[in-house]
């Protein structure tokens, strides 16, 4: 009986919403915009977390990255050369639990040209372990070999972004071709499998891998120094990092208070970086989302206040035929809740579209999970209840006689 009664009131509320369609529409739009922002916030937080997790496992939770130059120099973007292949070998030799070391030397803003196509990308000189260690797979062709490294061969493995920009997206057509890298001819041996991840403005697939020996001698004219070392360890990473710091300081002759002339990064740092990046978006959307929800709620409360005055005869009629105060309150509240739920559905749909656009045109990760539905439903219901409460109480407190004959 009680249940049947609720369905009847729901039906009354629904009919009222339909008849006062303009009022309902304005309320609905306000709520939808608020929900749109809230949804995007949640989706971007979830996307960031998911990406951070991916990044964490890509980087390797047991791995560290050692760069040349101190922390301060890196922030000031001053490039310094302090790390050598000997440093790397020392780490492998003296630090127990170190099972892998890879040297890496970047060639920043390297020009790629093939035919009339030109592109700027990141060149990386490394060893054959680079691919397995970073989890890069070869989708077409082959990797370079140990022999290529020993013989300083001009051979390259290119990322999918290069295929897209220079080879019209056809990886097969790239294999075996000779491309110019900083005006030096290189043979394309293979193509990296697409990662599809980006990292701020850096697209992971936008890179070309070459033998480190070739890069040092042919491109950089560098005999001693390398850009970075990737090392992986068994055991507690924090103590290994301490060991590495001590070893390198000793090797570089750094004493006492002198700062490190190298920087160590872990997966944890990479994650932090991503989260800071995401933080700006979250802050922006958080503020706009809250404002539009509050405004939407106020608009709804206001329109319902006016509506209650307009509909005083209706309220009087309902009261005359036996509606109790709480029936009136419930009906107005149900109207508000239904409108805000409808608004939240619209907001969700808009956010799916917006999410698709964000994914297509920016590097911000967006991920929609089922959690979003529950949160938006909860937010929408609360907004409906909060903004409906005052008009509803006002409606119920109308004197039936005055309401009828006003």
């Amino acid at each position: 009986m009680e249940k049947l009664f609720k369905i009847r009131l729901l039906n009354q509320a629904f009919k009222a919403i339909i008849s006062y369609s303009l009022r309902s529409f304005f309320c609905l739009i306000g709520i939808a915009l608020g929900i749109l922002s809230i949804t995007l916030i949640i989706a971007s937080i979830e996307g960031a977390n998911k990406k951070a997790l991916q990044l964490f496992s890509d980087f390797g939770p047991d791995a560290i990255l050692i760069f040349s130059g101190s922390e301060q120099m890196r922030t000031a973007r001053i490039r310094a050369n302090t790390l050598t292949l000997e440093d790397m070998n020392a780490i492998k030799e003296y630090i127990t639990g170190c099972y892998e070391t890879i040297p890496m030397t970047p060639v920043r803003n390297m020009t790629v040209s093939y035919g009339d196509k030109k592109w700027r990308t990141l060149g990386v000189g490394s060893t054959i372990e680079y691919f397995t260690s970073w989890g890069w797979r070869i989708s077409d062709g082959n990797s370079f070999t140990q022999e290529d490294i020993e013989q300083y061969n001009n051979i390259a493995v290119i990322g999918q972004e290069i295929v897209k920009q220079v080879f019209n997206g056809d990886p097969q057509s790239a294999i075996g071709k000779t491309i110019l890298l900083n005006n030096k001819p290189f043979y394309v041996a293979g193509v990296l499998k697409e990662r599809g991840i980006s990292f701020g403005s850096m697209v992971l697939d936008d890179r070309i891998i070459m033998p480190i020996t070739t890069v040092m001698r042919e491109m950089l004219n560098e005999r001693k120094y390398i850009g970075a070392i990737r090392a992986r360890f068994y055991g507690d990473l924090a103590t290994k990092i301490n060991d590495v710091v001590e070893l390198l300081r000793q090797r570089h002759g750094l004493k006492g208070e002198m700062p490190n002339d190298f920087t160590i990064r872990t997966a944890e740092d990479a994650k932090q970086f991503l989260l800071v990046l995401q933080g700006t978006l979250v802050l922006f959307l958080g503020i706009t989302g809250s404002i539009s929800l509050i405004v939407g709620g106020f608009v709804m409360a206001n329109l319902f206040m006016i509506s209650v005055q307009e509909r005083s005869a209706e309220i009087g009629i309902r009261r005359a035929f036996g509606a109790k105060k709480h029936h009136i309150i419930l009906q107005i509240l149900l109207e508000c809740i239904m409108i805000s739920l409808a608004g939240s559905i619209l907001g969700l749909l808009l956010s799916f579209i917006a999410g698709k656009l964000i994914i297509a045109y920016t590097t911000i990760p967006i991920f929609f999970s089922h959690k979003i539905f529950w949160i938006t439903a909860l937010v929408a219901t609360s907004v409906g209840v909060i903004s409906g409460l005052y008009p509803a109480r006002r409606a119920a407190s109308l004197n039936p006689v005055e309401a009828l004959f006003a």
């Binding site: 009629i317 036996g322 109790k324």
Partner: protein, 224 residues
């Protein structure tokens, strides 16, 4: 049973404040209305007849005096308890019809059942048959604005009857209608009384009042 009035008012007074000035609209009304009676309460505008109707209809409370409904003192009933009496025992018919504009005739008739605790089988069927009896069979799904005054009042009468109340309380039921339609509506109300409803009509027209078996005149807040 017949000797217990369905409505008994004892020395009912009602005053309103307009600014700081207290105006006494009802100055001590004593009235007994028995089951199946048909009574017209007649008076000029400002005589207090509408205020009296509101109090009898449990829409308003007296300033002082006692109200016995079916022998039970309901003077100090709260809002919810009065709502139940209105819902179950009183069917209102108003001068301005007072239908809800955005729902159709059928839904307007069903309205009082929404707030009723007592289970009614086939509410819809009952509403349709009430409307059919009142000659509104072809107008079930029309909105009030698509109906003439006489048709709207028929819908209002059907609404007043849906919960089977003992009392029909009509406030100037023909006040907004032409002479021909007025007499049709009065025929309907009188026939309801003949079928056993207690009929109370508030009016200022003696011709309307004469259709009832008993006429009570009210002037300046008192029965004369």
């Amino acid at each position: 049973m017949e000797n217990i009035p369905i409505i008994e008012l004892k020395n009912i007074k009602k005053s309103f404040f307009i600014g700081n000035k207290e105006i006494e609209v009802l100055k001590g009304i004593d009235l007994k209305i028995y089951k199946k009676e048909s009574i017209a309460i007649i008076g000029q505008s400002g005589s207090g007849k509408t205020t009296l109707m509101n109090i009898m209809g449990c829409m308003d409370k007296a300033t002082s005096g006692t109200y016995l409904f079916k022998g039970k003192d309901i003077t100090s009933f709260n809002d919810d308890e009065l709502s139940v009496i209105r819902n179950e025992s009183i069917g209102f018919v108003f001068q301005q019809f007072h239908l809800i504009p955005y729902i159709n005739a059928l839904d307007n008739v069903i309205l009082p059942t929404i707030y009723s605790k007592k289970p009614i089988d086939n509410v819809k069927q009952k509403a349709i048959s009430l409307l059919t009896d009142l000659g509104m069979k072809d107008r079930l799904f029309n909105k009030p604005t698509q109906l003439s005054g006489g048709q709207q009042q028929r819908v209002a009468i059907a609404r007043a009857l849906i919960n089977d109340p003992e009392i029909i309380l009509a406030d100037e039921p023909t006040g907004a209608l032409d002479t021909k339609t007025s007499s049709e509506i009065m025929d309907i109300l009188v026939s309801l009384n003949e079928k056993g409803k207690t009929l109370i009509i508030i009016t200022h027209e003696i011709e309307i009042a004469k259709r009832c078996k008993k006429i009570i005149r009210i002037s300046d807040g008192k029965i004369i």
